[in-house]
């Protein structure tokens, strides 16, 4: 445009003193010669696959989050961060396939054949993270582990065996491997590690291997059981696909989609079959309106199940997720799907897995979004505030959440990036 106007001035003669302002009308692109000079950058290759990341949030002073600068700041100007209220990325060397949260400690497992398959951080007073040898004394173990540290397992074939799943309790942990059974470590005061109870045992250096399936207690009596025994009651002969427990109540889901429960029923968790406060052998729970159950999750006082259509049902005592008025329910109540992102733009969103912490719930939808609700104990919900959440609330995580582990006051999420 500017060139054209100068040419016409030239015809009239420059003596006119015409100043040509180079104004282009809006919407016309610039000349092509200016565009081709810029170099082209490539940020991502054509065949890049999404990566796995780990995000942690909650109470950090036990070291359970695995970020030492929150507890012991590395620079003089920083202050220790007691609560991490929003998801924070944890750098891991390997891709973590399974994570579990206990009371103040975390275990991360990698599904590889390397020598280091398991990392632990947090409280280690009962050796729930194995033996973490101190720098100064070879016979002492750290009480608090602030960074993800390798947990060494006494494997027969350390270069062949893979760790499939980890699970943590209040002060003990269990590790499931593919060919060498289950390993347990930590507190054994009630026989929860599956070995003989020793009175006044010091738990700092003990490790025990046991070659049975997951340990449960539903044996029909009320004393301690220190060896794994098959569970009887209504569960005899039933194929179980999933077991869930947290405080004192346990649920098992069979392959046909039925739910069996036993344990504490003080908070109406098992009120559909019993009026008593405890049930010592498993009974089938006739849950009406729930359909085929795919997954169950137990909290301290509340219980949740997920059915095949992706709907979540909650009952028990506490913040159940249907507003502040509903604090107790003996029958399963459905959490409305509008909370999980279902709207007229996305009519087919459903929940793909649910987990329970001691006082809160977490649900993952099939679109990779994480929703939490319940009591916000020391910031464990990850929603950026200390307030309790009475209905499902989205947690902002940069990526697709594939799995989440809930502890009492912290949570760990395994996330896949989008690109």
């Amino acid at each position: 445009m500017a060139l054209v106007s100068i040419r016409s001035c030239g015809r009239c003669g420059f003596l006119l003193g015409l100043r040509a302002y180079a104004t282009r009308p809006v919407g016309t692109p610039r000349k092509r010669e200016q565009q081709d000079d810029t170099p082209v950058f490539q940020y991502v290759g054509q065949h890049r696959k999404p990566q796995g990341k780990v995000f942690v949030w909650g109470f950090s002073y036990t070291g359970a989050l695995g970020i030492p600068s929150f507890v012991v700041p590395d620079s003089g100007r920083k202050k220790p961060r007691k609560y991490q209220l929003t998801p924070y990325r944890l750098d891991t060397e390997q891709k973590i396939s399974s994570a579990a949260c206990g009371y103040g400690f975390t275990l991360l497992a990698c599904n590889s054949r390397d020598l280091t398959k398991l990392w632990g951080m947090g409280l280690n007073k009962d050796s729930q993270l194995g033996f973490q040898r101190t720098q100064h004394d070879r016979h002492k173990s750290y009480d608090y582990v602030l960074e993800p540290s390798p947990v060494s397992l006494p494997l027969v074939n350390p270069q062949e065996t893979r760790v499939l799943q980890v699970s943590c309790g209040r002060a003990h942990s269990l590790v499931l491997t593919d060919s060498e059974g289950v390993f347990s470590m930590g507190n054994n005061a009630y026989g929860q590690c599956g070995r003989k109870i020793v009175e006044d045992e010091v738990y700092r250096f003990v490790f025990q291997q046991y070659k049975q399936h997951a340990v449960t207690h539903g044996l029909g009596h009320h004393s301690k059981a220190s060896c794994p025994v098959p569970v009887g009651g209504d569960l005899a002969g039933v194929k179980v696909q999933q077991v869930a427990t947290y405080g004192d109540c346990s649920l098992a889901v069979s392959t046909e989609g039925q739910v069996f429960g036993w344990g504490n029923s003080e908070y109406l968790q098992l009120a559909s079959v019993t009026e008593a406060t405890q049930m010592s052998s498993p009974r089938l729970l006739p849950l009406r309106g729930v359909g085929r159950v795919r997954q169950a999750a137990c909290g301290g006082t509340q219980v949740a199940v997920l059915n095949e259509e992706g709907e979540v049902f909650v009952w028990g005592f506490g913040i159940l997720g249907k507003g502040p008025k509903l604090s107790e329910s003996a029958i399963p109540e459905r959490v409305p799907a509008t909370f999980f992102g279902r709207s007229e733009f996305n009519p087919t969103v459903k929940v793909s897995s649910i987990r329970c912490g001691l006082n809160h719930f977490a649900a993952i939808t099939d679109r990779g979004e994480l929703f939490v609700w319940g009591k916000n104990v020391r910031g464990c919900l990850g929603i950026g505030k200390h307030d309790d959440q009475y209905f499902p609330w989205r947690v902002t995580v940069p990526g697709h959440v594939t799995d989440v582990a809930c502890g009492v006051d912290h949570m760990v999420a395994l996330v896949k990036t989008i690109i």
Partner: protein, 358 residues
């Protein structure tokens, strides 16, 4: 007796929608509509001129030889009302503009004439949603987020697939859903907040940043792609920046090559007037077409004002939310070919039900 021009002027009261072409400032559109209306008003045939009695001096007939002067009355048209003397009858028609569109964008622009300007203000305050179609192009980043700006960076885009784009859009939409509830100014620890959230009636009231209530990709042909956006409280620059951010999330860069507003509240693009129809006759027809929607907007605002004096804050908010839902209700039809079904929002509380509640 009213003249034809005055009768025509009285018909010009209400709201209508106009299709603003790209590259034109919204003020030029408003000015040309106003001048077209004035032209039509002033070209109406003027009423017959008033006649006044005038005494004219006439000389006597041939009979009288004396120099008698005779005054004879006659009706003569006065010149006081002649259009060449007074000038055009109409100088100004009040034409107001609703939510503005900047020069780069095109689409539905709501205008109000005469008494409709008051209703226009209510429409602007009522948090109705607007639909846009955004055209984007991967591979470039410019300084003003459009394809006509100065190119800052060029990147490759062969790794971008529709699957990845949809995942990024789902993430953006998730964040906006959260913002919808956060800016709704309702205490989240109450049972009323839970009830509203279940019904999907939590909506930002008062000041809020731009929030997208819906986001979808309707066409993908690398490097070009098209997004359909439903948003509230937005500016067109924010939407162009959205395209840029979608590019950043996909680890490439993107520019916007077109912003087109397809709906503004109850005013849709099918009923918007194109340039040939910016004449008084078509405008009056359009005003009559939208009179129902205009009445609804006016009613909802009046209800909000009277209800505010009687009820508690939460109840007023709930009822005004349902009013906004009514105004928004017609437009949930998804216009693209990729949607299989037309999904409507659940029917909200109507006015009569709302009144009987308290």
């Amino acid at each position: 007796m009213t003249s034809q021009a005055v009768r025509l002027f009285r018909k010009m009261d209400g709201l209508f929608a106009v299709y603003k072409p790209q590259g034109v400032h919204w003020k030029h559109v408003r000015d040309s509509i106003e001048s077209n209306l004035l032209k039509a008003l002033n070209s109406c045939p003027p009423p017959a001129p008033q006649l006044a009695v005038q005494f004219q001096l006439l000389s006597g007939g041939e009979n009288s030889s004396s120099k008698d002067v005779v005054l004879s009355p006659s009706m003569v048209p006065t010149l006081a009302d002649h259009p060449l003397v007074t000038g055009p009858q109409f100088h100004k028609v009040h034409v107001g503009v609703g939510h503005r569109l900047d020069a780069f964008s095109s689409g539905v622009l709501v205008l109000g004439v005469g008494k409709g300007n008051g209703v226009l203000e209510h429409l602007c305050k009522s948090h109705v949603t607007r639909d846009y179609t955004l055209e984007g192009e991967f591979g470039k980043a410019t300084d003003n987020f459009t394809h006509t700006g100065r190119v800052i960076e060029k990147t490759t885009y062969d790794h971008v697939t529709l699957d990845k784009l949809e995942r990024v859009l789902a993430m953006i939409q998730g964040a906006n859903q959260k913002a919808l509830i956060m800016y709704s100014q309702v205490d989240l620890h109450t049972q009323e907040a839970y009830e509203l959230a279940v019904r999907g009636l939590l909506y930002p009231h008062g000041k809020s940043p731009p929030i997208l209530t819906g986001l979808r990709c309707i066409h993908f042909n690398p490097p070009h792609f098209t997004l359909e956006v439903q948003c509230v409280n937005e500016t067109q620059k924010y939407l162009r920046k959205l395209i840029h951010e979608v590019g950043l999330e996909l680890r490439t860069s993107a520019v916007c090559s077109g912003v087109r507003r397809t709906r503004d509240g109850p005013f849709k693009v099918e009923n918007a007037l194109t340039r040939q129809h910016w004449t008084a006759g078509s405008i009056i027809q359009a005003i009559a077409h939208f009179s129902k929607a205009t009445r609804k907007i006016r009613k909802s605002e009046m209800y909000k004002q009277t209800a505010g004096q009687l009820n508690s804050n939460a109840q007023v908010q709930e009822q005004t939310r349902s009013q906004t839902e009514q105004i928004n209700q017609q437009h949930v039809e998804l216009s693209s070919s990729t949607s299989d079904t037309v999904v409507d929002r659940e029917t909200p509380v109507t006015l009569s039900e709302g009144r009987t509640k308290h």
